[in-house]
């Protein structure tokens, strides 16, 4: 996986992408979808949700992950730390805080041959 720009990546077809979310000062209130279908966190990650999917292409197209981070009654300083990584290497991270105006993030992964 290569970072093209923040939240924009390229990844090879067949590569596994992992998105790991760490909630801090807040419960697990994360929702995600990939290309029109709900993206479910891995069952072994109830308190730090981890989402995984494979880049399937076709080459030149992009996969779209939409995520929303909620903060119901969370205290000051609550945030989610998010790490994005690819099975062929490369990683990136970003944070969504309670005080942010935008609490839903779109990530896109351009498939390469």
């Amino acid at each position: 996986m290569q970072k093209i720009k923040p939240l924009r990546y390229s990844a090879r077809i067949g590569e596994k992408i992992t998105i790991a979310v760490t909630p801090i000062g807040v419960g697990v209130f994360v929702a995600a979808a990939l290309d029109g279908a709900v993206l479910t966190a891995e069952p072994d990650s109830p308190n730090a949700p981890r989402y995984e999917f494979d880049i399937s292409g076709p080459a030149g197209t992009s996969h779209f992950v939409e995520m929303e981070f909620s903060f119901p009654q969370a205290g000051a300083g609550a945030r989610y730390d998010v790490k994005v990584s690819g099975s062929n290497g490369g990683s990136d991270s970003f944070t969504v805080s309670k005080d942010d105006a935008v609490k839903d993030k779109g990530l896109r992964f351009k498939a390469t041959a």
Partner: protein, 661 residues
């Protein structure tokens, strides 16, 4: 003859190109205009061979881009000049400068600077930036053959270079009738950028949504048949966040200076402090400072912090709270009063039953089962249409190129003197305008300029599938918003039982210990009011027989009926705390007062208390109290107490609110 013509034309083109090399060293508006005029003549000449025309068109596009950039730089320079020396200029001089700016602005709209979409599209892909205007953008995508819907047949558009940002997008919003969904997310992005977030990250994180909204707008607004337009959909608001009202942030009911006649079983898990003035069932005036925390805070200092993982592992530590209350002498430096000799009491509380935190397992399960699916539905609709557009990208303006165009425009804006000198509100407006303006020209205008590029099946998919699906998802979210509100209300009103131990320090008499059971249950009376009950007894650590003291100091009971209404002071604010009111009755049996002249062993108190949230984190509690006596006198007393409370849990929100205009 035709061959000779071609050779001569090539010589002319390269002669002009040679001039341009010189012009690039010292470009002038006039020389660029002259070159463009010459190149346009060659372009229009029917005798120009096709290969020369193609080459000529690429040079023409490059000149136009240079001329546009240079004109914009002149405008920026003149504006910066006017801004810095305006006070030193006469009105006529200001007018002259303004006139020069206006002329340059007008020249930006001249046909000479307007790239012809058709001629540019016919040109071979150029290595330099193409010209872009709000009306027409030359895109190689226009030449890419349209493909069927199947993913396997996808033919990605040819690689595109970033488009030149549209100029003069900051002063006005050219996309005045943009869908509310689009303007709302754009304003949020602008808000985060102004607050210091990385601009590219903020734009990228929302760009696919913005793009999809704009595509849907372009396709629905001019639909030949009546369809639900995306403009009819309301802006999306994240599911609400409300404040807790069950926490005992102020001093306990028996501390000096408290306005509470009854204690609540909740407690601040992180640091909180409150300052209150006044007294109830005490005949001293005083002020108190309460500091409270939890051992859980210590548990989180293992390097990971207050993560959901740590919270789940902490177990019992989340059920314990500790606090200390101090007398305050210096109102200007309240924390300096938090010294041992100012300590009036300290307490430990343990939650026995119930959990009112949204981090509780029960609430998280309710969220997963009832709330999250509605959020996921909207996200699935959005990511679905984004993917759909991606596999049909030859029918639409290039997503990445348009994103880059917006990035470039935002970066250019943020480097401008006008932006740097603007206040935060103006910066947000400038950023919003820039994003909307560029996305309009790059997507909305482009689609409308090439209506034939979007196939009927693709159009149908977006107009008749995406927009209705999004509308349904948003409608469903509104329903779920009500469900969430009910769940939060239920969470705040669930039964809660706490045991509290308090050590009271009484320099004038004797220190004593208080053992208290606190219970709260909502809607037990007439299904309307919240009921809070306390029952406690206190014991002297070292009873003094000379003061008629025995081991048991007193037995105490309190009952409170509470209600809440929305606060008019917090409209349009993220803090959704409510005005709470409470009728409280207390009874205290003071054994040591038995048989003592001037004292009563049975003390009764009645209180009406109003707690009004004024501004994020600040509350104004006011209480009217009647007592038939106090611990030290048998005189009736009527008293009005007031104060203010400050919740540290809302500190950052408060700081942000103070910073808002």
């Amino acid at each position: 003859m035709k061959t000779l013509c071609g050779i001569l034309t090539i010589v002319v083109v390269f002669f002009i190109c040679g001039i341009n090399v010189k012009a690039q060293q010292s470009p002038s508006l006039e020389s660029l205009k002259e070159q463009i005029r010459t190149l346009e003549q060659i372009d229009r000449d029917p005798n120009t061979p096709p290969e020369v025309k193609t080459l000529n068109q690429s040079f023409l596009a490059e000149r136009r881009s240079q001329l546009r950039d240079l004109t914009q730089k002149r405008i920026d320079s003149l504006r910066a000049y006017l801004s810095s020396v305006r006070a030193s200029l006469s009105s006529s001089e200001i007018e002259r400068v303004q006139q020069a700016v206006d002329e340059l602005q007008t020249s930006l709209a001249e046909p000479q600077l307007k790239a012809s979409a058709d001629s540019a599209a016919a040109a071979a892909p150029v290595s330099g930036p193409t010209t872009a205007t709000p009306d027409s953008n030359a895109r190689s995508a226009a030449n890419t053959p349209r493909v069927a819907n199947a993913v396997a047949e996808v033919r990605p558009a040819a690689p595109q270079t970033p488009l030149t940002p549209v100029t003069d997008c900051t002063s006005d919003n050219s996309y005045t009738n943009a869908p509310p969904l689009l303007t709302e997310i754009t304003e949020r992005v602008a808000d985060d950028i102004v607050n210091g977030k990385n601009a590219e990250e903020m734009v990228a994180g929302s760009f696919a949504k913005m793009y999809s909204y704009t595509v849907a707008d372009a396709l629905t607004v001019n639909s030949p048949v009546a369809v639900r337009t995306i403009r009819s959909l309301k802006a999306y608001q994240y599911l609400g966040e409300t404040a807790r009202i069950d926490k005992q942030v102020g001093a306990g009911s028996s501390s000096a200076g408290t306005t509470s006649a009854i204690e609540k079983p909740g407690f601040a898990r992180l640091l909180g402090f409150a300052i209150e003035k006044g007294a109830i069932l005490k005949d001293v005036e005083g002020s108190s400072l309460t500091l409270s925390t939890s051992p859980y805070v210590l548990f989180t200092m293992n390097g990971d912090g207050d993560t959901a993982e740590n919270y789940a592992r902490a177990g019992l530590l989340n059920r314990i709270g500790v606090s200390a209350t101090f007398n305050i002498e210096d109102q200007n430096s309240v924390l300096a009063s938090a010294r041992r000799n100012q300590l009036t009491d300290w307490s430990v509380r343990a939650r026995l039953y119930g959990d009112r935190s949204t981090r509780s397992k029960a609430f998280q399960k309710a969220w997963r089962d009832d709330i999250q699916p509605a959020i996921e539905r909207r996200l699935a609709v959005l990511s679905g249409v984004e993917r759909f557009i991606s596999v049909h990208q030859s029918e639409f303006p290039d997503l990445d190129a348009t994103n880059d165009q917006v990035d470039s425009a935002v970066a250019s804006l943020m480097n401008s003197a006008a932006y740097k000198d603007a206040n935060d509100a103006d910066k947000k407006k400038m950023l919003s305008n820039t994003i909307l303006c560029n996305i309009k020209s790059g997507v909305f205008d482009d689609i409308n300029a090439h209506p034939q590029r979007v196939s009927e099946s693709t159009r149908n998919q977006i107009v008749n599938n995406f927009v209705p699906s999004l509308a349904a998802a948003l409608d469903n979210l509104e329903v779920v918003r009500g469900v969430l509100k009910d769940k939060l209300d239920a969470l705040a009103k669930g039964p809660l039982a706490t045991f509290a131990y308090t050590n009271h320090r009484e320099p004038a008499t004797s220190d004593y210990s208080e053992f208290k059971f606190l219970f709260e249950q909502d809607k037990t009376l007439f299904g309307m009011l919240n009921i809070v009950g306390n029952a406690s007894f206190t014991m002297y650590n070292k009873p003094n027989a000379l003061l008629n003291q025995s081991r048991i100091r007193d037995i105490n009971a309190a009952l409170s009926f509470e209600g809440a209404v929305d606060s008019p002071f917090l409209k349009n604010q993220p803090d959704l705390s409510k005005i709470t009111y409470a009728f409280t009755g207390t009874y205290q049996r003071m054994r040591e007062n038995e048989g003592l002249a001037g004292r009563k062993p049975d003390l009764v108190g009645l209180q009406f208390k109003l707690d009004v949230p004024i501004y994020g984190g600040f509350n104004f509690p006011i209480a009217l109290t009647y007592t038939n006596g106090t611990e030290h006198t048998n005189r009736n007393d009527k008293r009005l107490n007031f104060g203010f409370k400050f919740d540290m849990d809302k500190l950052f929100a408060l700081t942000k609110l103070i910073g808002m205009p």
